[in-house]
């Protein structure tokens, strides 16, 4: 082997080592930040967890109490938002992948969707404030549901379009060439094939909106009293976190830690659930 080859090999080795080290450092930074966040959250959050959280309602600032109405409120708001956004998002994605038209409509919809996807959630909150809260004259859970649905729709459109796009066009063509109408092919072949991916997208969107705070501040606000009428303000975990963490009372701050812990656990759990769905569909 000549000198030249040796030199070349050395160079390749050095570059390889440098690149590997940079990769490891990046991973270390990412994991360290996540780990310290989780550590703080768990150590402070777990201390704040007790039975009364789940059976008592929100106390006034500074008093003792629980999170029962906030937990239920968050569930109602998040689940309703997903129930509204999932079909709309999946149908928009269906239009893009299964019923493309000549011309620019498809790419225009995709472009607008990408803008909405990266729009700051506080702007969505302000938008819903101006069209729903102002019209009704007061804050309400309904306005919050609409805001969260508007945030979830573009996410669901994107993930659903991605999973339907990777279905081989042969499968569509095969179904259509048996004389089956497009809508039946879409429902019974395309949705069925993409099922795991579609569900994953919806659950991920739910996990994402469950922790949204900014849009709720402008729409649902908060309600100390147990109340599950969606036309009125309703207690919810993110806003409890926001308001109680800023209060000077220790027991209120403890409630905020508990709320943070619960939301994080819920999101963690839904993410694990999606992994489960995905791996099950792969093993099939």
């Amino acid at each position: 082997m000549s000198m030249f080859d040796d030199k070349k090999r050395m160079r390749r080795h050095t570059l390889n080592t440098i690149f590997t080290v940079i990769c490891y450092i990046s991973v270390a930074i990412g994991v360290a930040v996540l780990a310290s966040t989780m550590y703080t959250l768990f150590s402070k959050g777990i201390m704040a967890i007790n039975l009364s959280l789940f059976i008592e309602n929100l106390p006034p600032l500074g008093a003792d109490g629980g999170l029962k109405n906030a937990i239920l409120g968050s569930l109602i708001i998040t689940v309703s938002a997903v129930v509204i956004s999932a079909p709309i998002g999946i149908l928009i994605a269906t239009n893009l992948t299964e019923f493309p038209t000549k011309g620019k409509l498809g790419s225009a919809v995709r472009f607008v969707n990408d803008i909405l996807l990266s729009a700051p959630s506080i702007i969505i909150g302000l938008f819903v404030y101006s069209i729903v809260v102002r019209a009704l004259g007061h804050f309400s859970a309904l306005a919050g549901i609409i805001a969260l649905a508007l945030i979830a729709i573009p996410m669901i459109v994107r993930t659903s379009e991605d999973v339907m796009k990777i279905i081989p066009s042969n499968l569509r063509e095969a179904a259509v060439s048996l004389g089956v109408p497009r809508w039946k092919v879409t429902v019974f072949v395309i949705y069925k094939t993409a099922k795991a991916g579609l569900i994953t997208g919806v659950i991920l969107a739910m996990a994402r909106v469950a922790g949204e705070t900014a849009p709720l501040l402008f729409t649902v606000l908060n309600n100390q009293f147990p109340n599950y009428n969606i036309l009125t303000p309703m207690a919810n975990l993110p806003v409890v976190m926001f308001q109680y963490a800023m209060s000077p009372y220790e027991n209120s701050q403890q409630l905020a830690w508990a709320a943070a812990f619960l939301i994080t656990m819920a999101i963690l759990f839904t993410n694990i659930l999606t992994r489960f769905f995905f791996s099950r569909s792969r093993n099939k």
């Binding site: 493309p100 081989p168 179904a175 004389g179 019974f188």
Partner: protein
């Protein structure tokens, strides 16, 4: 030919006829003035290099190209005295009469039974009894019945590649079409599965008109009655098999045959 003149239609040797056909992907033209007749109950093999337009031609015959808004065709395809490219022609009906099997097996994500029953339920009102009979018959025609009869509830996607392809053939046959379009149906299969599928094709030609796109000269030699050679979107030669292999008229056909 006058519509309703069925006697001459049935006696006619020509089952489907392509006239002055041009095809465009967006602004790019890929078929140029194609004129071709396909004979009833015969196997016609379409050959040519990749990109010669043979699959495109096949995809026009059941209007599957219409799934893509930027694709369009001009000219006529006459089937039973009517131009099937006419927008007024019921395309879903057309596709039940002219079935198609693709290069890669495409089982639906459902049971073997439902893979066949799915499209049938949509087009024909059958009792459970006749549905079962039809499923069994079509699986038998595709020589798959013996291998799957124990467990028709198994997912179609769990079968081997060769079995999946025969399932796709069975699915198409269950519709009882008049014409079968086969787009390189064995190119993704091993030699043993290929042989099984070829046996099926030969058997089918007794009752169906088969149009087969293939890359495989030997396959054309084994199964075809007529051979069509295409190059760059044009028909270069179309003749009976013997004539095609022994006495090709065109220079391009002779060059093509030399490679094998």
């Amino acid at each position: 030919m006058a519509i309703g003149d069925t006697s001459s239609l049935i006696s006619s040797k020509i089952h489907i006829s392509v006239k002055n056909l041009n095809f465009f992907y967006g602004k790019t033209q890929t078929l140029f003035n194609v004129n071709l007749d396909f004979h009833r109950n015969k196997i016609t093999a379409i050959m040519g290099h990749s990109g010669s337009g043979k699959s495109t031609l096949l995809r026009i015959l059941n209007r599957i190209y219409e799934l893509y808004p930027e694709h369009h065709a001009t000219g006529e395809v006459i089937f039973e005295g009517k131009n099937i490219l006419d927008k007024r022609y019921d395309v879903e009906k057309l596709r039940t009469r002219i079935g198609m099997v693709f290069q890669k097996p495409t089982p639906f994500p459902m049971s073997i039974y439902n893979n066949i029953a799915f499209a049938l339920k949509n087009n024909q009102k059958l009792s459970n009894f006749s549905m079962n009979k039809r499923v069994r018959k079509s699986l038998g025609q595709a020589t798959l019945w013996k291998e799957v009869k124990e467990d028709l509830k198994r997912s179609g996607t769990a079968l081997s590649g060769g079995q999946q392809q025969r399932l796709c053939i069975a699915r198409t046959l269950a519709m009882q079409p008049d014409i079968l379009l086969l787009d390189e149906p064995t190119s993704a299969l091993d030699p043993i599965s290929t042989e099984k599928v070829e046996t099926v094709i030969l058997e089918l030609a007794k009752t169906y008109t088969v149009i087969l796109v293939t890359h495989n000269l030997r396959q054309a030699e084994r199964v075809a009655d007529f051979v069509v050679f295409m190059k760059e979107g044009e028909i270069k030669e179309a003749s009976e098999k013997k004539e095609f292999f022994n006495n090709p008229q065109r220079k391009s056909t002779q060059t093509f045959l030399k490679y094998f």
